[in-house]
Structure formats: structure tokens, C-alpha cells
């Protein structure tokens, strides 16, 4: 095996000497790989930022919440009020939690402030409220009694902070809340039934939309469905583009590296063909020589990409990214994760592709090369 080690030692010695004598060839390989690495890093970081922006927009709201609203006319109101089922339970299969609120057509006067909507719930205890009237507000301290007037009915309500679902539905406005039985007189003039469904997945959100539209069509009901479906679909699309772009950048980098390295490697091979053929006359196989070319190209390609990453980080560390509104570039350090590894693999693939002309060249009979 000593000779095998020596042959590889000699081949590396020869490579180092070539790099020393023809630094432009080495530099052009590293620069091309480095530029491709930087370009890939830009694409990855840009797409990652786009996804993060959408994530942030979604985090502002209840991401997978769906609100299904339906206007119930006076003629149908009494029937729904008197039944135990207020209409929300049929959605329960699609999510982790369902709340139904009945918003009366009338509103309430509370002190000297603006009129507030009147909302009834079938199970107030689910929202931490016992059998009473409540003014859900952030303006006043909790557990304070306030007087209100709905129609001709005057009474008192306790102040409470609004639960999340009520906030989601009313957008932070004050609400007078009571159970369905207490507010049945107000509701009997008609109301808007809103069901908040906390879906388990994007697919469930989509199903909720499909079911709502089917119910509108088949039963002739006027359902209004609100959700983040559009943004969720956008996010899904961005993530898919992110994954595809990574592959395209990787494949593109491989192809460009393959072509550039291949043409340079071919020129170098033509200069060294005599020497390699000579080594073959000693009984050293083509595969040994090809393996050396392959390792050399892979080292230069991946080394170039890593240098590109490093250079990008160096430049970034010296820039005021916030002032340039490019703070997303600050995540360049995280490129050493799986996406960076895919880019490195692509570069290595480019190095392997570059060996194809060498593999073809090594097939030439020794007698046609050696003189």
C-alpha cells in the first residue's frame, strides 16, 4: 500500500505546484464558487425573511381561527333561542375549540359612554363568567358595577376583561354580555350568530370554508366566513417557493460550477495528460487518478462556497444593516444549517460534474498520449 500513498502524495504535490504556478486558475475556481455561494445565501436569506414577515403578520392574530357569521332574522330567532343547540357545535369536529356568540340587533347604553353591542352566550361559564350580566371592557377596573339600559330594560353589569374569543370577534370594543336566557327578549328581534372555530390545521381552515360555502349554496343561508386562509395559503406558497428556490439555486450552482470547473479542469488535464498517462503505465488505475481530480474539485468548490459565506458574514459584520433596512441579512450566520449544507452539496456535485471531461480523457489509449 506504500506506493498507493506515495502516488496520492505525488498527485497532491503536483496539484499544489499547479496552483502555485497557475494561481489564476485556482483563484477563478474559488471566486466563481464563492460568488455562487453568496448569491445562494442572498436568495435563502431573502426567502427566509419573506416567510418570517408572513409569520409575524399571522402571529398578530389567531392564526388558525375561523369566524363564521350568519344573520338570523326575527322569524327564525325564537326557534334558535328556545333550542338547547345554538348552532356552533356542528363545527366542533374541525377544531380544538368552538365558541358561539349571538349579537343582538339592539345595543346597550352604559353610563355616558358610547353604545355597546349586546352579545349572548349559551355557556358563559366556558368564558369564566357566572350567571349574570357583564361589561367586557379594558377601560374600567374589574368587578365594578355599572348600570346599563337595553331597550326599556335597565340593570347592572359587572366589569370584566374580555376573553380572547370576544376580543377576536369584537376587535377590542366594549361588549355587554349575558347568557341566552337573560337576553332572550333582546335576541328575539333577530341577531347575528358568530361561531369562532380554532382549527387544527390549514386543511381544517380550508374545509371550514368549503363547508360554509356548501351550506350557503344548499341551504340558502347567508354565511360570512372570515379567516387567515389567504395569508396562510400565501405563506404555504412562499414556503414551497423557498424549498424550490433552494433546489434551483443548488442545481444552478452545480451546473455553473460543473461547467466552469469542467472547462478549467479540462485545460489543466490536457497539460497533465502525459504525466497521468505515465503514472498509468506503472499500473495505477484510471479510478485512482479520477478520484484525485474529483477530491480536488470538490475541495475547491465547497471551499469556495464556504469562503463566499465567510466573506458575506465579514461584509455584513461591518455594515449598519438596520440603517440600510437589510437587517434580515444578519441571519447569515445561520446558513451553516441544513440550507447551507444543501448548497455545499450542490457545490460538491458541481465538482463531480467537472470530472466528466477528465473521465473521458482518461479513456484515451496510453499509446496515443505517450511518445
Amino acid at each position: 500500500m506504500t506506493w498507493w500513498i506515495f502516488i496520492h502524495f505525488y498527485l497532491w504535490q503536483n496539484s499544489l505546484r499547479r496552483w502555485w504556478e497557475q494561481p489564476l486558475s485556482l483563484l477563478s475556481k474559488l471566486v466563481v464558487a464563492g460568488l455562487l455561494g453568496m448569491l445562494g445565501a442572498f436568495v435563502i436569506l431573502g426567502l427566509r425573511e419573506l416567510g418570517a414577515q408572513l409569520d409575524r403578520r399571522l402571529n398578530d392574530r389567531e392564526t388558525l381561527a375561523v369566524v363564521i357569521s350568519e344573520t338570523i332574522p326575527k322569524s327564525a330567532a325564537a326557534g334558535i333561542i328556545s333550542s338547547e343547540e345554538t348552532g356552533g357545535d356542528s363545527w366542533r369536529l374541525l377544531g380544538n375549540g368552538v365558541s358561539t356568540f349571538l349579537q343582538a340587533a339592539a345595543s346597550a347604553e352604559v353610563g355616558d359612554g358610547p353604545r355597546v353591542p349586546v352579545v349572548a352566550v349559551a355557556n358563559p361559564e366556558r368564558h369564566g363568567l357566572v350567571d349574570d350580566f357583564y361589561l367586557l371592557t379594558r377601560r374600567l377596573p374589574e368587578n365594578q358595577a355599572v348600570e346599563f339600559l337595553v331597550g326599556k330594560h335597565r340593570s347592572e353589569a359587572w366589569t370584566r376583561l374580555p376573553p380572547d374569543d370576544v376580543n377576536l370577534l369584537m376587535g377590542g370594543r366594549d361588549v355587554l354580555m349575558g347568557d341566552v336566557v337573560r337576553l332572550s327578549a333582546v335576541l328575539s328581534n333577530g341577531f347575528t350568530r358568530s361561531t369562532i372555530l380554532h382549527a387544527g390545521s390549514l386543511a381544517d381552515v380550508r374545509t371550514a370554508h368549503d363547508i360554509g360555502m356548501a351550506m350557503s349554496r344548499v341551504e340558502g343561508r347567508q354565511l360570512v366566513i372570515q379567516s387567515n386562509l389567504r395569508i396562510l395559503l400565501e405563506l404555504e406558497k412562499v414556503r414551497s417557493i423557498q424549498a424550490q428556490s433552494l433546489w434551483w439555486v443548488t442545481i444552478g450552482s452545480s451546473a455553473v460550477l460543473g461547467l466552469v470547473f469542467g472547462s478549467l479542469a479540462w485545460m489543466e488535464f490536457r497539460e497533465e495528460r502525459y504525466l497521468l498517462s505515465l503514472i498509468r503505465t506503472f499500473g495505477v488505475g484510471r479510478w485512482t487518478l479520477l478520484a484525485h481530480a474529483l477530491i480536488e474539485n470538490c475541495i475547491l468548490a465547497t471551499g469556495g462556497v464556504l469562503l463566499g459565506f465567510g466573506f458575506l458574514q465579514l461584509v455584513i459584520s461591518r455594515m449598519n444593516l438596520d440603517a440600510l433596512k437589510m437587517s434580515w441579512l444578519g441571519a447569515a450566520g445561520s446558513l451553516y444549517g441544513s440550507e447551507g449544507q444543501v448548497l455545499l452539496l450542490g457545490a460538491a456535485l458541481g465538482g463531480i460534474l467537472a470530472c466528466l471531461p477528465i473521465a473521458i480523457g482518461l479513456r484515451k489509449p496510453l499509446g496515443l498520449v505517450l511518445k
Binding site: 505515465l278 503505465t281 499500473g283 489509449p365
Partner: protein, 211 residues
């Protein structure tokens, strides 16, 4: 042992005509000198005999050994000295010899013997690229012999060399082939090598007769 070339034809890729056609020639285990004008096909025949070229037609066989052209044949049994540089230029003289011997499985100590015979012992540590043409040619011969090949093929081994260098090479080849265990074929115009030849083939005449 003998190299047999039977019904051998060879045409270079892209060429219209064959260099030679249906050639039958044998090289027994002694020193054969091939003569002939430049371009008559001597070097082509040597490359075919070594297995560096594949014949267009016909076969080359080495009695009792593997088929020429295999890696095993190159490693263990064949030493071929080309007209041009055929050494590893970055390696030292000694390293060139040791590598060849190690690949062949020949004792490395033999390298010393041939380095001394060929007057290279003092130069053994020097990189080949820093040697003169005559010294390089002697290193090539030393490397070929240190491997202890069964087939030794030399293509113009003394061309362009001065008398002293040519004599050194002649002496070394004579000593190596003295045992009669090696098939040695030398293509040359140099008449100084006639005295070590057992056979002398005028390749041009041989081809004419064959046709």
C-alpha cells in the same frame, strides 16, 4: 518466454491507412534490436507489444504471462522507456525508482544497485526536473531495470546521448539481460547498441518481405 504478435494490423484513429497489416512477429527472451527509418512503425509496434495500444486486428500474447494491457501486466512485468520524458518530474531520482519497484513488488534494495551502475548514486536525492537530458535518460533506464521486469521495451534509449552516457546505458542493459530471463526489445538507430543485440531486425525490410 516470448512475445508473439499474430496477424497484427494497426490504424491510428482518423488515419486512412494502416501502419502495418497482418504482421506476424515474435520476440524471444533475449535482446532484439528493431531498426528502420523514422515512421515505419517501430514505435507503434512497441506500444502494441506493451499493450498501450489496442490492435485494429490480430493479437499480442506474452507466453506464460497475463495479456498485455492489463494493470497487473503494467505493474509487475513491463518496463517501457519512452523517447520523451517519462519520469515524475517533482519526485527525486530515488523516489522515482522506489515507486516503480514498490508497485511491481520488487525489492527496493535493487534500486541502489542500478543507481550505482548507472552512475546516479550521488544524484539520488535530486529532483528529476533538475537533471540534464542524459542523466534523466539514465534514471529512466535505472527505474526500468530496478523493477526487474520480464518484458523490457526501450524506444530509442540512447538517442541524442553522448558516448559516455550511451555506454553506461549499454552496459546496464547488457548486465540486466545477461541472465536470459527477459524479453528485451529495443527500437533504435544507434549502431553502438548492436553489440548487445542477439537479434537484429530491419523492420522496414521485414514489412516489405511480409507484404
Amino acid at each position: 518466454m516470448k512475445i508473439n504478435c499474430r496477424s497484427l494490423s494497426y490504424r491510428y484513429p482518423g488515419a486512412e491507412h494502416c501502419v502495418f497489416k497482418s504482421l506476424d512477429i515474435g520476440f524471444p527472451n533475449h535482446v532484439t534490436l528493431l531498426r528502420g527509418y523514422s515512421g515505419c512503425g517501430k514505435s507503434t509496434l512497441l506500444r502494441l507489444a506493451a499493450g498501450f495500444l489496442k490492435p485494429t486486428e490480430g493479437v499480442v500474447e506474452v507466453e506464460g504471462l497475463l495479456k498485455p494491457g492489463t494493470r497487473e501486466f503494467f505493474r509487475k512485468h513491463l518496463s517501457f522507456v519512452f523517447q520523451d520524458l517519462n519520469l515524475l518530474p517533482l519526485a527525486s531520482v530515488e523516489r522515482n525508482l522506489h515507486l516503480s519497484s514498490q508497485i511491481a513488488g520488487a525489492p527496493v534494495e535493487l534500486a541502489r544497485k542500478w543507481l550505482e551502475i548507472l552512475g546516479l548514486w550521488d544524484l539520488r536525492k535530486r529532483p528529476v526536473e533538475r537533471l540534464s537530458g542524459g542523466q534523466r535518460q539514465r534514471v529512466a533506464i535505472a527505474r526500468a531495470l530496478a523493477k526487474q521486469p520480464k518484458v523490457l521495451i526501450l524506444d530509442e534509449p540512447t538517442s541524442g546521448l553522448d558516448v559516455d552516457n550511451a555506454n553506461i546505458i549499454k552496459t546496464a542493459v547488457k548486465e540486466f539481460t545477461a541472465s536470459g530471463a527477459t524479453v528485451c526489445v529495443i527500437a533504435t538507430h544507434d549502431q553502438r547498441l548492436d553489440e548487445i543485440a542477439d537479434d537484429l531486425v530491419d523492420f522496414h525490410s521485414f514489412l516489405s518481405l511480409a507484404e
